[in-house]
């Protein structure tokens, strides 16, 4: 089975971010980068599928060349080879990411694609869906279970108020939610083996993809500072505050 999984390099979500002077972006200098948390579930599921069915796991990332680190982490967890499409992420929108991924997927022709449901930095939650649409493949998003047999994937999806079970014919796009599995840690021997696994570097040109952003970020602002909390004397004044100050009741 040929399994393709995607990883994105994101700023450590626990790091304190600052905006640059003209509020056009974040200051990432000096901040640690990590693999997008939802991608870890996708990678883990890809490796579990390989362990159960045999085959190959291809790890794809789009971003600057530092992204080889996140690809290598996925290879250390058990992936077989990597593909890095180098592109300036500040000039690329979800459609561009989807176009590039779709081009890689067409080249690789995997049986299944496992992705994170969204990336924790931009929270667009569009790429999996767009790739499926572009390729005309079925999609199962927000997966919390995933079974593959006889050319079909049965996926449990987390939806508002409950769960839904769907069957999608392979090849298909599955996006991972956080209850899908518990991602393994890369072991030291795994990290050393990953050093020798191949990572192919491609450009959008190599893939014949022209990037024309349709979504342009106008600027960023930090959320307003939260006002200090207040300790009230009794339940009556709590209700009063909730009704008249916070206006939530």
């Amino acid at each position: 089975m040929k399994i393709l999984t995607t990883v994105k390099r994101v700023v450590d979500p626990d790091a304190k971010v600052r905006l640059n002077s003209d509020n056009s972006g974040l200051v990432t200098e000096g901040l640690e980068a990590k693999m997008n948390a939802f991608d870890q579930y996708g990678v883990e599921e890809a490796i579990k599928l390989k362990e159960a069915h045999g085959g190959e796991v291809i790890v794809v990332s789009i971003g600057d060349s530092a992204g080889t680190k996140e690809i290598r982490t996925a290879l250390a967890m058990g992936g077989d080879r990597g593909v890095l499409v180098t592109a300036d992420m500040s000039e690329i929108d979800p459609k561009g990411v989807a176009d590039l991924l779709a081009a890689v997927i067409e080249r690789e022709a995997p049986d299944i694609v496992l992705m994170g449901k969204l990336s924790v930095d931009s929270e667009n939650n569009q790429v999996g869906q767009r790739v499926a649409a572009k390729l005309g493949w079925p999609q199962a998003t927000f997966a919390f279970t995933c079974e593959v047999a006889d050319g079909w994937a049965t996926v449990g999806r987390e939806v508002d108020g409950g769960t839904a079970n769907v069957r999608v014919k392979l090849p298909a796009i599955v996006t991972a939610d956080l209850r899908l599995n518990e991602p393994r840690y890369a072991s030291l021997p795994g990290i050393m083996k990953a050093k020798r696994k191949p990572i192919e570097e491609l450009t959008p040109d190599d893939l014949g993809v022209e990037l024309e952003p349709q979504l342009i970020i106008q600027g960023y602002s930090l959320p307003p500072a939260r006002a200090a909390g207040e300790i009230v004397d009794d339940v009556d004044s709590l209700i009063d505050r909730l009704q008249n100050t916070a206006k939530v009741l």
Partner: protein, 391 residues
């Protein structure tokens, strides 16, 4: 692909290891640290998982011999990161992977490697190293443990003191006198691999310690232990050479424990002073005296780490770094004690209680000025190297 030089993570693999052990440490090491300090219990299950889950045993052993094939910097990263959470657990790790595995690997013959390496790298066996004795620590040549050749074995007698992992260990590298020739005292010592299960090997009562309580320490006692000649490591009389060769990586990894302690205490005190605690309507970090605690702690930790990593990356089998390794240990052990003490002071009453890890960190930090060569021994060694330069 050109990447900027990063002293602390010289390769991408080093950076990945740091990230991996830190996040594993937050998840698995931090939550158990206080309990194991209080109960003075060794967390054997967690220790074995360092090997079985993360593959952290045999870091410096070549891949073709079943190890990871990395360098001193990798060991320093692992020990620094996990010492942020539980320095005691990492002292036991250091005794296993640096004092035993690294030393044994570089000295043992192929049969010995084949027999022992798989057991200690898998974590099936826990290992340690026994040099110090009740009457001889700094004064190594005062050791009285003796091995006398009789036919195909040596008969070993003596008592080793404060041996990390003795209560839980299966196998030890033991230094013993094999000659009394007064003209040749540097060749009077040999090293042996001794198994805990052999007749005549016993352990003393578990030591009750000020800190590093999650790492078990006791005497290791040999009474007429028959050690087969196959378990002589290296040649007879060569032990001081192995001991010296291992000292540098021992010192930088012990310094890495201090660095981890200093980083943790700096984190806790900075967060508390800058964002949490207010007095007189201001954050503590507004007060000049607290600013001095923070600034000096940061400067000392950062400079100590720069020295530590610069020395560690130069350590290899063909390059001597005795001066740098001693300097790194001396600098960082003092730094860790001072930073931990300032962290307690900054946290005030909270800092003095067990609810916060900084008091434990200070207790743990003090061992590092004693074990693996005292700070006074580092003074002595540094000056003897300086004499070579200036004398």
């Amino acid at each position: 692909m050109t990447q900027r030089f990063d002293l602390y993570n010289p390769t991408e693999a080093h950076a990945t290891i740091r990230e991996m052990v830190r996040s594993w440490g937050e998840e698995h090491v931090e939550p158990q640290a206080r309990e194991h300090d209080e109960t003075e219990k060794f967390n054997e299950g967690l220790f074995r998982r360092l090997g079985s889950e993360l593959g952290l045993f045999g870091v410096t052993v070549a891949e073709e011999h079943g190890g990871v094939g990395l360098d001193a910097v990798a060991s320093v990263i692992i020990i620094e990161e996990l010492s942020r959470f539980d320095p005691g657990l990492m002292l036991s790790y250091l005794a296993h992977d640096i004092l035993f595995v690294n030393n044994f690997y570089h000295t043992a013959n192929p049969e010995q490697r084949e027999h022992y390496l798989p057991r200690v790298i898998s974590g099936e066996w826990i290992a340690g190293m026994a040099m110090s004795e009740p009457g001889a620590g700094t004064d190594v040549l005062g050791m009285t443990t003796r091995a006398v050749r009789q036919g195909d074995s040596y008969v070993l007698n003596g008592t080793k003191a404060w041996i990390t992992n003795a209560p839980c260990g299966d196998v030890f590298l033991v230094y013993a006198r094999t000659s009394d020739d007064p003209d040749n005292c540097r060749q009077a010592w040999s090293s042996f691999v001794v198994e805990r299960g052999w007749p005549g090997v016993s352990v003393g009562r578990k030591e009750e310690k000020m800190g590093m309580k999650s790492s078990p320490t006791s005497q290791l006692i040999f009474e007429d232990v028959e050690v087969p000649v196959e378990n002589l490591v290296g040649t007879e009389g060569s032990a001081l050479i192995h001991m010296m060769r291992n000292l540098e990586i021992e010192r930088v990894t012990l310094a890495a424990q201090s660095a981890g302690i200093a980083l943790r205490c700096l984190d806790d005190m900075a967060r508390y002073a800058i964002t949490e605690r207010k007095a007189f309507g201001k954050h503590l970090s507004e007060f000049g005296q607290i600013q001095r605690f923070l600034a000096e702690s940061y400067a000392e930790t950062a400079s100590g780490r720069a020295l530590l990593y610069d020395v560690s990356r130069r350590i290899s089998s063909d390059s001597r770094q005795s001066l740098g390794a001693a300097a790194a240990k001396l600098a960082l052990t003092g730094t860790a004690e001072r930073v931990a003490r300032r962290a307690i002071q900054t946290l005030g009453g909270y800092g003095y209680t067990r609810e916060f890890p900084v008091e434990r960190m200070l207790r743990d930090a003090i061992l590092l000025s004693i074990g693996g060569g005292t700070n006074e021994a580092m003074h002595k060694n540094i000056v003897s190297d300086l004499r070579r330069i200036y004398g």
